[in-house]
């Protein structure tokens, strides 16, 4: 592999500071300074991943775009990454260009953005933070990998406000949504729960609405902890999909001490997260996302006798789905990913809400055969 294989246009500048100004002027950065991407800096990234510059990592057919190893390496340099992070970033790009991820939803008004969760041995080797101040800023890999993905899509997929991005509020996970799971508890980490070998390192991409929902849970039983979560989830967006719940090591110890698995946590939420038809009508979401609810004779937005006792379930399919869920939400998986992380002494749980209309989480293995 030689630098001659790089195909990106080269621009001459006086010095690194002039490069930063040029990138601001061209709209090639996100408002922050960048590390100037020179051939000398970019090539080690490709070498570390063992990839040719024109290696296609993924396609975005709706935009007629391909994302190559060279595109990724240039933007990773700009973000301040180290070459060693490249295999993790490659897996992240493969995840969001997988057809199941449905990239075209990224321009949505709801400002969806992928959170990336790194699992397996490489997370620790590279120093990804899974602990205190998880959503940071904290460490170099967390911060720079999040920014590398943001810059890559900014520059190569028009994912910016003057491009295709039409999100109303934007999404802070663009800056901090690259994290690792704390795998020191007795619970299986996410990738093992998903059926992958423990020794495999993985990246999971989950498209989220902006915002981390943090809950004060000063209780000491599994049911007590989860009842607070049930209450909050039941009043959230109420779009069916895969929700991610973050459990602190302190709370994980309570669950484990009582013999609860991650699956038990998921099942508890699955059965209990619900809201009355009357509540959903009061909230104004009844029939909004559904496909032609007016076609059903029994559809009305007025609160009817019995609506206080009729319930719609967040995860479990039920007879009222035709009034509440979009066709896309009904097509995709409903699940709860339980991820351990955050400060060790912590009585707060947290969760994030998946994008509501399409997209499923995608997990990809990290290949580290080269370098």
């Amino acid at each position: 592999m030689t630098s001659k294989l790089l195909t990106a246009e080269e621009l001459e500048v006086a010095d690194p500071f002039a490069a930063v100004e040029l990138f601001h002027e061209k709209g090639w950065t996100d408002g922050l300074p960048i590390i100037p991407p020179t051939r000398e800096r970019v090539l080690p990234f490709l070498e570390h991943a063992g990839l040719a510059p024109d290696h296609v990592l993924g396609e975005i057919p709706e935009r007629d775009r391909v994302l190559t190893a060279e595109h990724l390496a240039i933007n990773a340099v700009m973000a301040g990454c180290l070459p060693a992070y490249m295999p993790v970033l490659v897996a992240a790009v493969e995840a969001i260009t997988d057809p199941a991820y449905k990239f075209n939803h990224m321009a949505s008004l709801g400002s969806p953005w992928p959170m990336f969760i790194v699992n397996g041995p490489l997370a620790r080797v590279l120093g990804f933070n899974s602990g205190l101040y998880l959503f940071g800023p904290t460490t170099r890999p967390n911060a720079t990998c999040a920014r590398a993905m943001s810059l890559l899509l900014w520059n190569c997929a028009e994912a910016r406000p003057d491009g295709i991005q039409r999100g109303q509020w934007g999404n802070p996970f663009r800056s901090v949504g690259f994290i690792a799971e704390d795998e020191t508890t007795a619970w299986d980490p996410l990738h093992v729960a998903l059926g992958l070998p423990r020794e495999t390192s993985t990246v999971t991409a989950i498209s989220l609405y902006p915002g981390l929902h943090q809950l004060h849970c000063p209780r000491s039983t599994p049911e007590g902890l989860l009842d607070t979560l049930v209450d909050d989830l039941s009043t959230s967006e109420f779009f069916r999909g895969t929700y991610t719940v973050f459990v602190s090591p302190q709370h994980a110890a309570i669950f484990i001490e009582h013999g609860w698995t991650k699956r038990d946590v998921r099942d508890y939420l699955w059965k209990r997260c619900r809201r009355s038809v009357a509540d959903l009508k009061r909230r104004g979401t009844w029939g909004v996302m559904a496909d032609k609810p007016d076609a059903f004779a029994d559809f009305t937005r007025d609160i009817m006798p019995g609506d206080e006792e009729r319930f719609v379930y967040l995860f479990e399919p039920n007879e009222y789905d035709r009034f509440m869920q979009s066709p896309g939400a009904l097509e995709r998986r409903a699940d709860v990913y339980v991820v351990v992380g955050g400060g060790n002494a912590g009585i707060r749980m947290a969760y994030v809400v998946p994008y509501g209309v399409s997209t499923d989480p995608v997990t990809k293995p990290v290949r580290t055969t080269a370098a």
């Binding site: 990106a8 080269e10 001459e12 991407p37 939803h105 810059l151 896309g328």
Partner: protein, 93 residues
């Protein structure tokens, strides 16, 4: 001096772009693909009314995608291509 690399990427295969423009909409059939989003049909109807004020549009072929989160299925695209001289699609919210 320092040489830096352009970090951007454009369309890869030239498969996207602007379709050939019609010289006029007079006596043309206009295809419309509604993405199914609430109120989008109203916005598209308003747009068609405005066009009809300006042009003698022969016919409108109004189709709806089954789900806004997916690309329009091939039969819908084929019908628009076969029956319409030009097409309007977009997001209405």
């Amino acid at each position: 001096m320092l040489k830096v690399l352009n970090p951007t990427a454009g369309p890869a295969r030239g498969r996207s772009g602007v379709a050939p423009r019609l010289a006029t909409l007079d006596d043309k059939t206009i295809g419309v693909i509604w993405n199914g989003r609430a109120f989008g049909d109203r916005i598209l109807s308003e747009a068609l009314d405005l066009l009809k004020q300006r042009y003698r549009i022969r016919e409108v072929v109004f189709l709806e995608k089954p789900f806004l989160g997916n690309i329009a299925p091939e039969p819908i695209l084929a019908e628009i291509a076969a029956r319409a001289d030009g097409a309007i699609t977009g997001v209405g919210d």
